[in-house]
């Protein structure tokens, strides 16, 4: 069952930032806590005992060579993997204090709270407006003028409003690649999720469009817990405040981005960011 629309973010009381060592380097209170996470494709274990805490109002980037498990980790956070057979996760993943791997969790409701943007832009075959309104209409309860306001604010937050405000009724697929991807970001944030996941969101885009999407992410940092997987090290350095390096299914190292990119603790991280492999 999908819950009714939550009150807007700004009406929610913010928990003051804690001073615990783990989160002091991050921007908000812990939003995602992962404990002892293992992931299996059939018999093959592809994530090994992942433990970490991700803060609200922050951008965490995961980097690492292909096949290191960073996309898999992302797909655990909204249980996207459950759409495919023979994939399973073990351990604890708490989002906002609730274990999302439990058997009683409604995945549709979970995915409603945890938005996701994919590598290739995937505008739905409908108008720009309907694309952004899709999630809101699924949940129900928002219509008429309210719906218009929510759609506009999502498009503004995704930094695409000025480009599409005169063609809200044009097909979403008629936009350029970069615009399509920002439309997908707008669609994901229109329902005001708790967490926003992005799986290599700029891998299919040209440099200018990449820049625009990165600017969009920067603007969204104030409101969301954002997790982005990227192949692009410069991008991780540019947009994230926390970076995690993954290698062969292990989380090798996670910490403030400037520290990871300037003085990594682990030899493998150093080798990767200096271009010795990957």
């Amino acid at each position: 069952m999908i819950p009714s629309i939550k009150p807007p973010k700004h009406l929610k009381m913010r928990v003051p930032q804690t001073s615990a060592a783990e989160t002091s380097l991050q921007s908000g209170p812990p939003k995602i806590e992962i404990r002892g996470l293992n992931f299996y494709y059939g018999d093959m274990r592809s994530l090994h005992d992942i433990n970490m805490t991700l803060a609200d109002r922050s951008i965490t980037a995961f980097i690492g060579p292909s096949g290191c498990g960073k996309s898999t980790l992302l797909r655990v956070l909204n249980r996207m993997y459950a759409l495919y057979p023979n994939q399973r996760a073990e351990g604890e993943v708490l989002i906002g204090g609730r274990d999302i791997l439990g058997p009683t969790v409604d995945v549709a409701e979970l995915r409603y709270r945890v938005g996701m943007v994919f590598q290739k832009p995937t505008p739905f075959p409908m108008s720009v407006f309907d694309n952004v309104a899709f999630g809101l209409r699924l949940a129900g309860g928002v219509r008429g003028a309210d719906l218009k306001i929510r759609v506009e604010s999502a498009l503004r937050d995704a930094a695409i409003w000025d480009e599409v405000k005169d063609k809200l009724h044009a097909d979403g697929r008629s936009l350029s690649g970069g615009q399509q991807q920002r439309l997908c970001v707008a669609r994901a944030i229109a329902v005001q999720p708790d967490v926003l996941l992005l799986d290599e969101p700029t891998a299919a885009l040209d440099p200018i469009s990449t820049l625009r999407v990165e600017e969009t992410l920067q603007a969204l940092r104030e409101k969301y817990c954002i997790v982005v997987v990227t192949h692009n090290l410069q991008q991780a350095a540019r947009v994230s405040n926390v970076t995690g390096f993954m290698f062969m299914g292990e989380l090798v190292e996670i910490g403030p981005s400037n520290q990871i990119f300037t003085s990594p603790q682990d030899r493998r991280t150093d080798d990767y960011i200096t271009g010795r492999f990957g």
Partner: protein, 284 residues
Amino acid sequence: MNRRALRKAKNGVFLALSLIATMTGLACLAAILWTLLSHGLAGMSWHLFTAMTPPPGGQGGLLNALYGSAVMTLLGILIGSPIGVLAGTYLAEYGRKSRLSTAIRFINDVLLSAPSIIIGLFIYEIVVVRMGHFSAIAGALSLAVLAIPVTLRTTEDMLNLVPIGMKDSSAALGAYPWRTTISVLYPAARSGIVTGLLLAIARISGETAPLLFTALNNQFWSTNLNAPMANLPVVIFQFALSPYKDWQDLAWAGALIITVSILVLSISARVLLALLQSGRGSGR
């Protein structure tokens, strides 16, 4: 002869061979169309669309046959296409890799290439024999059975062409599979599915064999679905084989009408699709 010249010569030979093959195919097609046009146009008149099929030597047209064909084709597509579209949806979205799907896919491929006379016999056995008489509804059913595999196959293929990311994106917003299918996948595959439906109409509107055993034929005007009904293919079949000149002329005219209407159907399908595609930019 050096190597380059040899390769050039080989290229020339293959080019010539494929050109000859293409020309042969096109020439056959042109000959068929020319024969059809020259014989068919001679028999064209307003009577075709206003009068019933005549007895030998009498004045008449094809009105009852045209009506019967339209009714049975329409009924056939109305019964067959929902089954085909839904089954194709099941194969593409729900049972992609299950054993049942593999079996259905195989049987559907067999059905797709099964001689239509077998379908006619099948309906004859289970409908006509039990009802005790030929009927339009039996004709429509046999056409429906022919329409199922075509629509099933195109629907499955077209849904499989929809990028997986689109499906995942919809699921990532909290949509259940049926909602994804109706709101995202069907619109994305719309032009392909519609093309499948039009292909199915084109296929069944010219079928003779399944109607021979089911709807039979009718000399007279009849709108009773529970009685034999006239239809163009069977009328053409009977009239063309008859020794009477006026019947043969009517058969040619009927053949021309079928060909032209299928042509119009295909062209309007393309125009419709083109309009839908270009309409993306504006309409909602």
